[in-house]
Symmetry: D3
Amino acid sequence: MAKLKIFSGNTNPEFAKKVAFHAGVELGHCKFGRFADGEVQIEINESVRGTNTFVIQSTCPPVNESYMELFMILDALRRASANEISAVIPYYGYARQDRKVAPRAPISAKCIADLLKTAGANRLISVDLHSSQIQGFFDGPVDHLFAIPTFAREWRERIGAGDDYVAVSPDAGGVERVRAFAKRIGCSIAIIDKRRAGPNQVESVNLVGDVKGKVAIILDDMIDTAGTLTQAVDSLLKNNAKRVFAVATHPVLSGPAISRLKECGVEKVWVTDTVPLRPEAIACGKIEVISVAPVVAEAIKRINTHDSVSALFD
Amino acid sequence: MAKLKIFSGNTNPEFAKKVAFHAGVELGHCKFGRFADGEVQIEINESVRGTNTFVIQSTCPPVNESYMELFMILDALRRASANEISAVIPYYGYARQDRKVAPRAPISAKCIADLLKTAGANRLISVDLHSSQIQGFFDGPVDHLFAIPTFAREWRERIGAGDDYVAVSPDAGGVERVRAFAKRIGCSIAIIDKRRAGPNQVESVNLVGDVKGKVAIILDDMIDTAGTLTQAVDSLLKNNAKRVFAVATHPVLSGPAISRLKECGVEKVWVTDTVPLRPEAIACGKIEVISVAPVVAEAIKRINTHDSVSALFD
Amino acid sequence: MAKLKIFSGNTNPEFAKKVAFHAGVELGHCKFGRFADGEVQIEINESVRGTNTFVIQSTCPPVNESYMELFMILDALRRASANEISAVIPYYGYARQDRKVAPRAPISAKCIADLLKTAGANRLISVDLHSSQIQGFFDGPVDHLFAIPTFAREWRERIGAGDDYVAVSPDAGGVERVRAFAKRIGCSIAIIDKRRAGPNQVESVNLVGDVKGKVAIILDDMIDTAGTLTQAVDSLLKNNAKRVFAVATHPVLSGPAISRLKECGVEKVWVTDTVPLRPEAIACGKIEVISVAPVVAEAIKRINTHDSVSALFD
Amino acid sequence: MAKLKIFSGNTNPEFAKKVAFHAGVELGHCKFGRFADGEVQIEINESVRGTNTFVIQSTCPPVNESYMELFMILDALRRASANEISAVIPYYGYARQDRKVAPRAPISAKCIADLLKTAGANRLISVDLHSSQIQGFFDGPVDHLFAIPTFAREWRERIGAGDDYVAVSPDAGGVERVRAFAKRIGCSIAIIDKRRAGPNQVESVNLVGDVKGKVAIILDDMIDTAGTLTQAVDSLLKNNAKRVFAVATHPVLSGPAISRLKECGVEKVWVTDTVPLRPEAIACGKIEVISVAPVVAEAIKRINTHDSVSALFD
Amino acid sequence: MAKLKIFSGNTNPEFAKKVAFHAGVELGHCKFGRFADGEVQIEINESVRGTNTFVIQSTCPPVNESYMELFMILDALRRASANEISAVIPYYGYARQDRKVAPRAPISAKCIADLLKTAGANRLISVDLHSSQIQGFFDGPVDHLFAIPTFAREWRERIGAGDDYVAVSPDAGGVERVRAFAKRIGCSIAIIDKRRAGPNQVESVNLVGDVKGKVAIILDDMIDTAGTLTQAVDSLLKNNAKRVFAVATHPVLSGPAISRLKECGVEKVWVTDTVPLRPEAIACGKIEVISVAPVVAEAIKRINTHDSVSALFD
Amino acid sequence: MAKLKIFSGNTNPEFAKKVAFHAGVELGHCKFGRFADGEVQIEINESVRGTNTFVIQSTCPPVNESYMELFMILDALRRASANEISAVIPYYGYARQDRKVAPRAPISAKCIADLLKTAGANRLISVDLHSSQIQGFFDGPVDHLFAIPTFAREWRERIGAGDDYVAVSPDAGGVERVRAFAKRIGCSIAIIDKRRAGPNQVESVNLVGDVKGKVAIILDDMIDTAGTLTQAVDSLLKNNAKRVFAVATHPVLSGPAISRLKECGVEKVWVTDTVPLRPEAIACGKIEVISVAPVVAEAIKRINTHDSVSALFD
């Protein structure tokens, strides 16, 4: 069995520390900084020859800095004769660009997967990928971890289950995720169908499904600017939902996200710690974090001891 | 500009003939047979040096035979110095296995894409892929063609549009496709949410959305055994839909599909000719074919003359 | 030393069971079936992380089904983090297409080798490849096992050796194989030289070498339709061979093979169990099977313990 | 001959415009922006099928943003069926990390070259690479363009040549570049040899060669923080150089560069426009820009017409 | 149509000149020499951008020098932006090592094919490969040219055909080549079966087939040390062949070959000019050269104009 | 930990023996010879399955033979299932061709690195590469070992240090190497600047820096024809250096090198044993060899036990 080493990039060091703690190892000694002109500067202060190395780097904003730093770390480990190199990317940036959304668009999520491979990653570990097809983008084993089971278990234990609840997809693409949650809670589902009749016409927001008098839980893989989310909250309240909650794995929260969350009628937003929260996000009082560090740590341990990772989610 | 040649594999020769006709060329002279032991036997009876070659092979059942034949044709063309080789796969078999559906499952749709590349395909052309992320699986340009615009235009012209109709997704994964159709028809949407409470419990079929008194159009990318479809039809009628239609690009129609279609309450099923219909399918009287050969032919012509393919769908 | 696991595809499960038995392990728990539309369905019911995995799949008819099933199993194992994946293909289908036999023909045996590599095979193990150059087609280590030494030893022990025998090649391409056998038996050789003077002329069958009064043993790597073999038998008897036997590693026996064997003057046909015999083949009474499962099992054990495989044939 | 298209990334649009002007074409219609979360957003508003496409992107600071934007543009062009895609990188960021400078360091310049290839670049065009070995890092043709001949010609014409001048290398690695310039000016050379006796000791700056009473021209491929340069200027003046100039291709000018230039005794600094100057750099009055846009444009034209690029520098 | 350029390496410049003459072009201006330490020195004195380049290099002795020179030329052409680069290797050295002849042997012919591809060859053109499976070793199109039809036509025209002749294979591996010749001459075949009973026993040479009173023609792809050939000649004469000739494509003639030819009873040896003859070979008076330069030239022209090469041998 | 095996090619067997001795293992049993026609003949007489194999081959003249032999050994090891294969190339031939030195020149050092990878090398170990960027040419881990620290230590101990000495670069490209040595000796540096005013003019040799009355040590990575070296010696003596020594890692010594060394005013030349000395080189009396076999052996041991190699040079 090769020796296990965990290194942390710069985007989410708190998360990496927690993972290392739960995995029972110390974080590897390294310093990943920047030169005066912004180029990544790598210092790995211990030998990695023959080790199984895991680099934890969430590729949340600044997303491009995060990826370039990760590429350089991977290149350094590869040339330093590490045995197997796993890129642990709790939040996989660019995941929404997983298909050509317009003529001559890139498939950025695929391009990223190829760049990771080229830079030196042998394996990819990620949490709640925007679409599960992204697993097929990476040329090597992918260990895809899930937060939905954790969220659902917590919800059942702390809040409840059954017909009083309705799980809501804020758009047409996320219905499968909503269904997975609804099955565990034993509740019904609803979908928001936004549509614009023409170029200069107002967008209409239709709710498909019944939410009247129910506690609505909006589910998504991430919250970016929170525009989609707040529209969904408004629509649910307008349709007489009793209370509205949101559950989303990755709290990217860019631009106006936090002020929108504060102002809209959502009671509480459950997220994980794949993306670090800025102080104002913590201060807004509506966000609750459920850590996935233990599940990532357990997966790393099992990968290193050749035990089943899928058994984690049985 | 390199010379254009079109060859046809064995699965859907009628379709290939139509495409060649619309593209204004004759099909290339070839014979793709089998030896006594079942191995593919290739005879390409004209030089392909320096040509842009398009091989049309729908990978419908017998799907494994179809793919192996295609691999051998691609290998032959590659070694015969064809300039660019495009695999034209109107129906892309194995597309539903586009992610790991279980622990230790293959991602067959990705594996197929890699095998196509290895065998010699430089480009992939396909119609209504089960998920658009499959575009990212193939390492080369992909021209993804759509039947939905054709279906919607025909529906508006021949049947109607607006609030009398409702577009229905038979499962949680296909809601985006339904939305694309619904927008063009100007109608609302509904979703079938099938669920099984436990291992030995009956499956419950819930309808999310309102269909009462409406003409329901079930949309899917394909009809395989028609099990999902007939459940949806039953549910819609039980919920007082006025009439029920189905629109699906690829009529795979395996096993009990045709008898199910005959027995269930669907009035008409619109499909394309990406998969050839067996005589009993034609005989059942409920199936209407709208050809996508003209759109495939137009795409081939544009690829060869370096004109925009996306402009086809503006 | 990594843990050893052996899985069996669907084409020759009896052979796989024997190999596992001789290797001293149980076959891995798995089920490789088909969906309604014919697509391969994979269920691997135990973890393979970090194991050295051997997949046994003879690619006899239905050859295309056999290969596609194998590709999908390899893809599944690769994504499931198996350490080293060996494709054990006792009979390597498409081996006769190992060069361009006509203009614009594929080199199918090479294409297959590339597809195996792409799908996930790190190593190839096979028995009596049609030509030994196929070893060079696969980009990775190849362990090529031989049945000729086993056949020759059995022949010497059970029947005899020396000048009473003559080893016969049924065509010009197999003379080296015949020579290898003849050396071990200490007998002379003869060759069948079939030729057709022109497009519409009768084929003449000439025998080069002396067989009069001798026991003739026709040697080939495989028997497909048995056409070549029965012609050779007739020619040998016409040239006053005393008795005629045949020895061939792979009993593919397609089309009219069995009825031809029954009707022609061959006394006995020795084959191995790389290809399973159909009931009518067993019933015909002329076929005797000498198992190569022990030699395949021994090779697998040595590969796993890093012992010499070539030493097996010293 | 394929059609020529030039696109510009965001780092140096003025330079791209000049190149397009000199190449006699219009810049391609596109918009490369950012989403709210910082992900690159690509809009290419014209077909690029079958064209020879050149993407101009200097990878100056913000260097990581520049590269990620370039990768996504390359991926988009590749999937949009461009014929040949050339990455035109006037200033190649990360070039100084062209070897392992410490144990477990990356070779970032090589990693970048591999990422460019993976993202879709078929060809690389660059100006005055930090070391010419970087040409060997990219797996494809590289057209390496030079500013030294232009600088030397301008110097001879506007200032002079011969023994009154001395060309100075500010460190041990750049002596070949200095020699190339000195040969064209017909002057002698000198080298700055900085050294630190131990960890806590002051750095000593030794001048090797004779500069007394001469006009010294410090040559370098780039000016980053200008620390090395100002040390060289001080040393030259202390050793009684009459006047001190500097010539450097890439004006990266990060951190304290501009204030250092202002304060030190250099009279004038000649640079090119591979990196755009910030307003304060222009305002400092010591910097003079000699454009290499004409030479880049001429190279692009010759590449497209298959004429010799090396002949440009004869 | 891209411009055609032909360059010649150092091993067989006379042959290259003839090919260029027949192809109607001048040889490209270049000089491929050696530095003092033996490293290959490349000077290509004309632009090759966008051209279809053919490098003619027979890899006869000094075989290792020949290949290394060829690799460097290919690398130079690739980096100089040639469009398509064809390695024209009339005699493919290392072809006999086309399979593992012993445990832990290389498959040198495959290794060479991979090195050619890596160095920059897109296409391989060769004459009478030792085994036709070598076509499958090269990852790209291979144009395999044949001398047998030329030899047979010359033989019929100048000497005769029919039952007075017998075509003889000097070993078990070359019977197919002999058969191809015999069919064209309308004569019978014979095989030499050499065998050694044990490690210290004399080799016995058996002749299979009838040669008494006939004109025997020994056929082989090459003559190396001529040991096999002279043994065959002796055996044929001992078995009362009337006269003995030899026909072999590649006159490698190493070590004692020429003195052996002189001393043995062969009347005449027909060879081609794929390998240049040393003066003593010409002087021995038994060797007659039939040029394949016209057929190589014709193939090159057809490749460049996208015409069928296989049609050359119909 | 995999078993360690060391094999030696033919170019420097004495060195390989020393390395094996210091590594505490016996050289592997093998014989790498030549066939009559010059093709490499490989015999590896022991199993290498699963071992970590190191092949020691200095690629000194005959450089092309050396590389081809190495490629074939690598291919053999790869096919024989060695676990990891390291090419140990103490002197890396073709290293000076590490960039395009002229239009249409190859980058031979990169081409070689790619060929090594293709032939089967997973890792490269070398001593004092001509330029450290070559590390980036090989696609895999590179362990770059240094002789300069050994040379400097020996010099300090046996001769002295400080201002009485001056380290001299014989050309503009080697100044960094000279600086590394000078720092350890605590001496100043000087550079030879050779220049030719025009095509038919005499080359002038200028000395930059002060050598008067000092002991000059010319440093270079190699001595080839010794032309550059003797020019430097003459120039140093003309400029009144007290004594002149030379230190160079690789004693290639081709053509007139030895007679030049004998005749010029250099007192002593220190070299390593990466290249074997011919008898006349030993006889000339000016050459002293300092072995790097211990450092290569130590590196191999550390690689096999996964210990830090860089720590060797701290």
